[in-house]
């Protein structure tokens, strides 16, 4: 669904994303983790072709409309400029499908609203909702786009615990249904529990790529995140808890 080969993005002379090669297949929910400034956002924007880059991304090669049908993008900044109703806002996700105001478009919008538990919000004005509710509305917009791949930049930042878990479950269901999700996040615990795979970025490089249990090793946590953590596979799933910081 996405192939990256030696993807590099420069800011001035400095590579913010440095020769990253990786791929995403159907059924995967990939957690993109790494400290602040590691290049997570830039990697996703370069992969989408939204910024200048070197190397190759299978998405960036598509023409903009085809790319929009292949991948939905949830930027970190949750911008809603006008007092659109929730239903109108979610319907914006249908734009890449041209003029389908018919049954299929309405169905996709209704399904996305239902998936995010927003059926009763249809007529509400999006700008008057709380930050967490707005975040859910914007995720519903991405779902309504019905693209196989979703790239999301810190979609759960600022959500309450229940909404964080629900969002991860929505993404997991999208992956289980044959789609795929690449989502950056800082909560390693949620990444460990919900993601099928994690990508770890550090200073522009992709330093680890694999299942959470193998990637989140003591050495990597110390090297990349400068923390010590408890990680255990329990009967109730993976439990990860950061414990203390280490000397840099």
């Amino acid at each position: 669904m996405l192939q990256l080969e030696n993807l590099t993005a420069l800011r001035g002379q400095c590579p913010v994303v440095d020769t990253v090669s990786a791929s995403i297949g159907p059924g995967e929910l990939i957690g993109l983790i790494g400290p602040n400034g590691a290049g997570k956002t830039t990697l996703m924007r370069a992969a989408l072709g939204l910024i200048a880059h070197q190397g190759d991304s299978s998405l960036a090669r598509l023409d903009p409309m085809a790319r929009a049908r292949a991948a939905a993008w949830l930027p970190q900044a949750r911008e809603i400029a006008w007092g659109l109703s929730v239903a109108e806002l979610v319907a914006l996700g249908r734009l890449p499908h041209g003029r389908d105001h018919g049954a299929q478009g309405a169905e996709a919008v209704a399904a996305a609203l239902a998936r995010m538990g927003l059926e009763n919000y249809r007529a509400r004005i999006a700008t008057q909702l709380s930050g967490g509710e707005q975040a859910r509305v914007l995720i519903a917009r991405a779902l309504a786009q019905q693209s196989p791949l979703i790239l999301a930049d810190e979609p759960i930042a600022g959500l309450d615990p229940a909404a964080q878990i629900e969002t991860m479950e929505v993404f997991r269901a999208h992956a289980d249904a044959g789609g795929a999700v690449l989502c950056s996040l800082h909560d390693l615990g949620l990444a460990a529990r919900h993601c099928t795979r994690v990508w770890v970025m550090d200073r522009g490089r992709l330093v680890a790529d694999g299942p959470p249990a193998t990637v989140l090793s003591r050495a990597l946590l110390a090297d990349v995140f400068h923390i010590r953590a408890h990680f255990e596979d329990t009967a109730q799933g993976a439990v990860f808890q950061a414990l203390s910081t280490l000397q840099r």
């Binding site: 790319r67 007092g83 109703s85 806002l89 734009l95 914007l138």
Partner: protein, 327 residues
């Protein structure tokens, strides 16, 4: 009210005001007599109807639609309800062109020199904007470039006034700058129409892109909207419309600012829906204002731009006050 119902009501309002604009004037022609004269073209009433009132009413529709539509497009593009069509410097550029035509006496020699010079001024302003803001620049750069070009054109206009050869020339320039639809001919209509239509076609096509832009530039780009193309459409479309409107009517403020904002409450906030509605709303408002100039002070030649500013500015203040309370 549904979207369609609002469009129908607005169309009816434009049609009604167009008729009223044809029938109201200082020459004391009765309504039935006027309509008959319009169709037959006979005698003095025929001349008044066909040569004075018809072009005036047609320009009212065209100029109003231009200001409303480009105002709605500019607000949608900049995601700011305080944006107005002249923001990117086209109206200031057009005004400068017109003022130069008056100053040099060109327009006395050749009647269409003034609108042509105004269009040229708008064109130069657009070229400057694009050169300043670059091809890739974001909305903010466009606004700043627009402010710079407007300031430059404004200063040049002031310089021309400063150096005016006689008080008469200065007065003429000042009156022209106030904006009016009085004493325009069918030639003005013919000159402006192609620009207005081309600009309207370009701007009306920006609807889906403006809708997507509600979610921010990055999200819009990811949904297949070419920001570069959208920007050129907005700049050229509004320059064509505002340039042509300013060329034939002078500087008429506040219509492009106020109309989209008025309609946003009843229509919902979707920028694409606001485009056609604001075109109709702008036409209705300009026709009404132009009729008002004739009714309020028939003997004094009240200028259209003065009236729209006198009504528009307090409205603008009320709007700002309301926004201050909401946040």
């Amino acid at each position: 009210m549904s979207y369609r119902a609002i469009l129908i009501w607005l169309s009816l309002a434009v049609a009604g005001l167009f008729l009223a604009s044809l029938l109201i004037g200082p020459s004391g022609i009765g309504p039935m007599e006027g309509l008959r004269a319009l169709f037959t073209g006979e005698g003095a009433p025929g001349l008044v109807m066909r040569e004075l009132r018809l072009p005036r009413a047609l320009l009212g529709v065209g100029v109003g639609a231009a200001l409303g539509l480009s105002g709605a497009a500019m607000q949608g593009f900049l995601r700011n309800p305080l944006a107005e069509p002249g923001l990117i410097g086209t109206s200031a550029g057009a005004a400068l062109g017109a003022v130069i035509a008056i100053q040099t006496g060109l327009y006395a020699a050749f009647a269409l020199a003034l609108p042509f010079a105004a269009l040229a001024g708008a064109g130069v302003a657009v070229a400057l904007i694009l050169a300043l803001a670059g091809r890739e620049g974001r909305a903010l750069v466009l606004i700043l470039a627009g402010i710079a070009v407007s300031a430059l054109a404004g200063a040049a206009t002031a310089l021309v006034l400063n150096l005016a050869p006689s008080p008469y020339a200065a007065a003429e320039i000042v009156f022209w700058l106030m904006g009016s639809l009085a004493d325009r001919s069918m030639t003005h209509v013919v000159l402006a129409t192609p620009f207005l239509i081309l600009g309207a076609v370009i701007l009306l096509a920006t609807g889906p892109g403006l809708d997507a832009l509600s979610l921010g530039e990055d999200a819009a780009a990811s949904m297949g909207v070419s920001l570069k193309r959208l920007r050129l459409q907005i700049v050229f479309g509004s320059a064509l419309m505002v340039g042509a409107a300013t060329a034939v009517a002078g500087a008429v403020g506040f219509v492009g600012l106020v109309v989209p904002h008025l309609l946003r409450h009843s229509l919902g906030a979707r920028p694409s829906r606001l485009l056609p509605a604001s075109a109709l709303g702008g036409a209705a408002m300009l026709l009404a204002a132009d009729i008002a100039t004739r009714v309020i002070a028939p003997e004094r030649d009240l200028k259209l731009g003065v009236l729209t500013a006198i009504v528009g500015a307090p409205f603008f203040l009320a709007m700002i006050r309301k926004m201050g309370r909401e946040t």
